[in-house]
Symmetry: C2
Subunit: 321 residues, 2 copies
């Protein structure tokens, strides 16, 4: 069988190999991944869910419980990670087999750790292809998780249909610690660990976040961000989270914002690709090398304004080509 | 007098006007700001200090105490803000006169709130020019503050000589909440509010952060990030913070990393400017318009891979020009 048929047929080996191609830095590998993507169907009715939260919030436990609940409803669930950790210190999202023991070994799940040692921009661009590959392989729910560093949330927001922020069951003064820019990305906020001794605290946190959202969230855009408390331990409100996400999807599909968001994400990636190509061609333009070196040296020495040097380089590029 | 002489002479009005030009979105204003920058001296011995910390950490109080201590030593201090707040919700860094009452009205200080309603990239590019303008006007210490959203820390890190992260006096489990990617940017960590009832907690926090840094911080790069506890209220360790920053500067100057960091920042900005120019020229390329519309529509509809469309556009650009 050819890789395409194997991938559509649900072969994990074919899927792993296709992802390896998509994540490769070799241009021929990436072209092969692109050709594969062009040949496979893009299933309708998939949902891409972004998930973020600081370390310790209970992200893995939540994903394990949430993923298994979706599988119990007949879905097939893929979990991908966008991990902006520096190559120096290594990945923060590690050991998926340990942290999601039941989900990572389930037949209806596919858990893929993030590729290490790449730039965030690179990871995000490749993850867009990986999402389409797991969808082609029959996984209709894709969870894209990230650790709580601002840039990675923005990158994941640009890859998913709906963005879910997990928050610890603390309120009051500690609310000050929420990153406003990140809350603005969230369509759904879930207060975790709402079980045992923490039920009351989680309830207060939900109330605090709800009133904070009234101050922060823009109104009149159709969807008002929702705050829920959930417990992976007891299963409390895991179903509510899924119902809320389905309500979000239904509303976004009806209003056209669902399709518009995906289209906008594809267009944004087009401009990222154009930028990457054009900058490469500037770096490699024949005859421009010495002028570029000269101007760059003047900028580095503080003798020339970067904007002035950029104008000269762009002009030289136009005349030279 | 001409604006240049007034600026160098220390006229606040001339400085304000020059900053307005540098922050303007009008190309002719920006060219005027560039010309002004090219004509003014770039004083040696300036230090650009980035300051970040979540809301509530005591950033304003720290800057007020730290700035007044620097002024007492004979320095002139400028405070700038890089605020990535969305235009929807408005700025988070507001009311400088209220939050730094003594510093904002001091003859040896210049406190400038951030320009609202711009993109983070735009704010950062313009702030680079504003830093050079306040330096030309005789302010030898420039504090660039930002609120704690990941992207803005990275942007400020690209503008300053040394980066200082303010942390609340809490330890243990709450340490998990530190954003690893942001700690990696910091040359100096300052635990705030180390006074009264909080002295012991601040001391434990310093110990916790120090041991965490041993796990996180890359070794062998010359400077090992330092952790200090400070109190703006009692003045405890404000002098230590300044001595540590001076030690950092001395070491970075001696090793050449100080000059290399500024040169690298200028070069990074050159590439940002080239990117902005080239993307503009793609958007406005004669004859490319219809091909661009066609390819962009195919990408938006999911019928063409963004990378494939980008290759076609770049090829058309080469043939057309």
């Amino acid at each position: 069988m050819d890789p395409r048929a194997e991938l559509i047929g649900g072969s994990r080996r074919a899927l792993e190999q296709a992802i390896t191609l998509a994540e490769s830095t070799r241009p021929d590998h990436r072209l092969a991944a692109e050709a594969l993507l062009a040949s496979v169907p893009a299933p309708a009715n998939t949902l891409r869910i972004g998930l973020s939260g600081v370390p310790g919030v209970g992200k893995s436990t939540f994903i394990e419980a949430f993923g298994l609940a979706l599988i119990a409803e007949g879905h097939r669930v893929a979990v991908l990670a966008v991990d902006p950790s520096s190559p120096v210190t290594g990945g923060a999202i590690l050991g998926d087999k340990t942290r999601m023991p039941r989900l990572s070994t389930h037949d209806s799940a596919f858990v893929r750790p993030s590729a290490a040692g790449q730039t965030l921009g690179g990871v995000a661009r490749r993850t867009a292809d990986v999402i389409r590959l797991v969808e082609a392989a029959g996984f209709d729910i894709v969870l894209v998780e990230t650790v709580g560093v601002g840039q990675s949330e923005t990158a994941v927001h640009g890859l998913v249909d709906v963005f879910c922020l997990l928050l610890p069951p603390a309120g009051g003064d500690e609310l000050q610690g929420i990153k406003k820019g990140i809350v603005e990305l969230a369509d759904l906020l879930v207060v975790t660990k709402a079980d045992g001794d923490m039920v009351a605290a989680a309830g207060r946190a939900v109330a605090d976040y709800r009133s904070a959202l009234h101050l922060i969230a823009p109104s009149g855009l159709g969807w008002q961000p929702t705050v829920l408390a959930a417990s992976a331990l007891t299963g409390a409100a895991i179903t509510d989270v899924w119902q809320t996400l389905q309500a979000f999807r239904a509303q976004a599909l009806a209003s056209g914002r669902f399709a518009e968001r995906r289209a906008g994400q594809a267009e944004a990636r087009l401009w990222q690709e154009i930028t990457a190509h054009v900058l490469e061609s500037v770096r490699e333009a024949p005859g421009l090398g010495s002028a570029l070196d000269h101007l760059s040296a003047a900028v580095r020495a503080g003798k020339l304004h970067p904007a002035a040097a950029a104008r000269e380089i762009v002009q030289a590029l136009r005349q030279g080509s």
